[in-house]
């Protein structure tokens, strides 16, 4: 278990020089994830910001084996790698031993990749699937996904005379994963590195499929100053909009308590994607946070 920042490994498995936007918290998240992995891991990534920014030929930011095929199939590719390793070891054709991990975006997970993900979880492959969630298709220019939160503006859920922005609510990815009967799933955020990294360890160490849903605030798509990504992630947690919890073999546990919640307004105000919303929408979003608080046992709103 990692307890303090000093416990965290020095090794960097995501090299500098990647082309993620300045202030992109996906860079932070992946650095933390790979540190926690210890480097003995094969990573599969779906087509996404992370993919294009880290593998632009002839340069790679990856210091671990990494593979990208398409947008919708990262879970299937990972399943193939895991099965191959299993078969080769069983038949005495290989003595290699490594973990298999997916790091894919919300579009590649919630939308186009959910079928492959469901298949991989259901079949019980020993792999950790990490969805980094920047709440839209950022690589193609901020189009909505089914992870985009209620009322947020994207280029395909624009606010207008007849639109409040995104009409729908975010899917419950951890709930979907757990419904497959997998042993471990959790939410995380790079603003809470120790929490995130311990969850990566748990996910890797557990036998069978595990899933991590990581919120990664996006300076470009959410429209906030590049220096604010980590603080916005923290506010997502402190408002109750992004409760940090895990479901470990059926037991749900809050991993970061919020004794006094911030009002959601504080989180929304910092982001251009919510600039257009009215009191009515703010109240509805507050209700989402309140429901989360009730469900996971977070504290009351600060006076």
């Amino acid at each position: 278990m990692f307890k303090t920042i000093k416990d965290l490994p020095r090794d960097e498995y995501l090299a500098p020089g990647h082309r993620l936007c300045a202030g992109c918290t996906v860079g932070t998240a992946v650095r933390q994830i790979l540190k926690a992995s210890g480097g003995n891991v094969v990573v599969v990534t779906a087509t996404s910001c992370l993919e294009v920014s880290t593998s632009y030929f002839p340069q790679t930011a990856w210091r671990v084996p990494w593979i990208h095929l398409g947008f919708e199939n990262s879970a299937a590719v990972a399943a193939g790698i895991e099965s191959a390793l299993k078969a080769l070891r069983k038949k005495g054709k290989s003595n290699e031993d490594f973990h298999v991990m997916v790091i894919s975006g919300d579009g590649g997970t919630f939308d186009i990749g959910i079928q492959a993900l469901s298949g991989a979880l259901e079949r019980g492959h020993d792999l950790l699937y990490i969805c980094y969630d920047n709440e839209a298709y950022m690589n193609t220019g901020i189009q909505r996904s089914s992870a985009t939160p209620y009322a947020a503006a994207t280029t395909t859920s624009p606010p207008g005379a007849r639109s409040i922005g995104q009409r729908t609510h975010k899917k419950d990815l951890v709930g979907i994963a757990i419904a497959h009967g997998i042993p471990y799933a959790a939410t995380a955020c790079p603003s809470y590195p120790i929490d995130l990294m311990n969850k990566v360890r748990k996910g890797l160490d557990v036998e069978g499929p595990s899933l991590l849903h990581v919120l990664t605030p996006c300076t470009t798509g959410w429209r906030f100053d590049p220096s604010l990504g980590i603080e916005i992630g923290r506010l997502a947690v402190l408002t109750g909009l992004w409760p940090l919890y895990e479901v470990d073999r059926g037991v749900t546990r809050l991993t970061v308590q919020v004794p006094k919640r911030e009002p959601v307004r504080k989180y929304l105000e910092l982001q251009g994607r919510f600039k257009h919303i009215s009191e009515n929408e703010i109240n509805k979003i507050q209700e989402i946070a309140d429901k989360n608080a009730e469900k996971f046992g977070l504290g009351p709103i600060k006076e």
Partner: protein, 388 residues
């Protein structure tokens, strides 16, 4: 070695078992399903030591196969029709990432209308994906091509697709020689392939290829498939030495002195042969060519047998709507353009969606080919058996 009666599907499944594959990822679809059922059985009974991934789609089947092959496992999948079409984008990835996947594609028509019966639309729609494509004429060939495919795929680092006609080959029992497993193992030893995903190497695979590199990267496929011609011939020769059977890139029947030739692919050639025999008895100098290796296309083999031919007919079992010609016709005409000879080529389409091509149909085709040869003028494509 023993003689047994097996369907084409089972012959493929036995070949895959004898190849001692490590990973199978496949999804059921008629008429391919018996292959994956048989393989599941082999695995369940402990006769084949492989990981069988019950994927949720063909897209995932081939995606998993790529992950598996790059990890160094001998990898197999099988599909048909809609399943192959569903794999479309992944087919490109399998070749450009230089995997050694072997796939059986049991040829079936594409929707709509939904049709489970045989034609060649599925594989013809995937001509340009960078896979080696074999087309077999018999159950024995289905078995042998599968065994050869593993060796070729692992030598040239390109995936290989074996096409066998749905129902006609896939479901009909024929007697074949099933070699001893040790002999197959001698031909394709059960070794792990190079693991390109090893943490010891930390390679990055599946990169962004910007305009200044994409072209060169894609050209590597052209180079690899061109060079595969040599491997295909060599593997076939080695196969002959061990098993006593060889196959050319094309198979010919009565072509030595033929004036009029018909070109086909797949199992219809057996009906065509009957017609050749009967026309020969009537004194007609007709012959038959069946393309076994469609990718890479055996241009030189074809030009050689055309030496003294007066006219040619090409039977396509797939459509290229709005094109200048249907797929096989286009290949043949292009082949001839590069030879010094000018031979009229008549285009035929037939046998779509499982429609029979009868003995009379073949007779009619040969008659037309002869007319074209005599007049020197070909007609627009003739749709054999189409109700006007």
């Amino acid at each position: 070695m023993k003689r047994v009666a097996l369907s084409g599907n089972y012959a493929v499944a036995y070949a895959v078992k004898m190849a001692d594959v490590d990973v199978i990822a496949a999804y059921p679809i008629t008429p391919q399903t018996p292959i994956v059922e048989k393989l599941s059985e082999f695995v369940a009974d402990g006769l084949l030591d492989a990981e069988y991934i019950n994927v949720e789609s063909e897209h995932s089947a081939l995606s998993a196969c790529i992950g598996s092959s790059l990890t160094g496992a001998r990898t197999f999948t099988a599909t048909s029709s809609q399943g192959l079409a569903y794999m479309h984008e992944v087919l490109f990835m399998a070749s450009s990432l230089r995997t050694s996947i072997v796939m059986a594609n049991v040829n079936r028509a594409l929707s709509h209308p939904l049709n489970i019966w045989n034609d060649h639309s599925d594989a013809m729609a995937e001509r340009d994906v960078g896979w080696i494509q074999f087309w077999v004429n018999s159950v024995q060939e289905a078995f042998d091509a599968t065994i050869q495919a593993f060796k070729i795929a692992e030598e040239v680092l390109l995936p290989v697709m074996i096409n066998l006609d749905g129902f006609i080959l896939s479901h009909i029992n024929e007697v074949l020689i099933l070699p001893d497993e040790e002999l197959v193992r001698e031909f394709i030893p059960s070794k792990p392939l190079f693991n390109r995903l090893s943490p010891k190497l930390a390679y990055t695979i599946g990169v962004v290829g910007p305009p200044e590199y994409y072209y060169e990267m894609r050209y590597q496929i052209i180079d690899a498939i061109e060079r595969s011609r040599k491997n295909i011939n060599e593997v076939n020769r080695e196969f002959g030495e061990l098993f006593g059977r060889t196959y050319g890139n094309i198979s010919t029947y009565m072509m030595e002195d033929a004036d009029y030739a018909l070109i086909t692919m797949g199992a219809v050639s057996s009906t065509a042969k009957i017609v050749v025999d009967s026309l020969r008895k009537e004194g007609e100098k007709v012959g038959l060519i069946s393309i076994r290796c469609f990718r890479p296309f055996p241009k030189n083999d074809i030009i050689e047998v055309f030496e003294d031919v007066k006219s040619i007919g090409v039977l396509d079992r797939a459509l290229t709507p709005g094109g200048i010609g249907h797929p096989l016709f286009t290949e043949i005409v292009t082949t001839l353009y590069d030879s010094s000879k000018i031979i009229p080529v008549q285009s035929f389409v037939g046998g779509l969606g499982g429609r029979d091509i009868t003995i009379d149909d073949f007779k009619q085709m040969y008659k037309i080919i002869k007319d074209v040869g005599l007049s020197g003028r070909r007609k627009p494509c003739i749709y054999i058996g189409l109700r006007e």
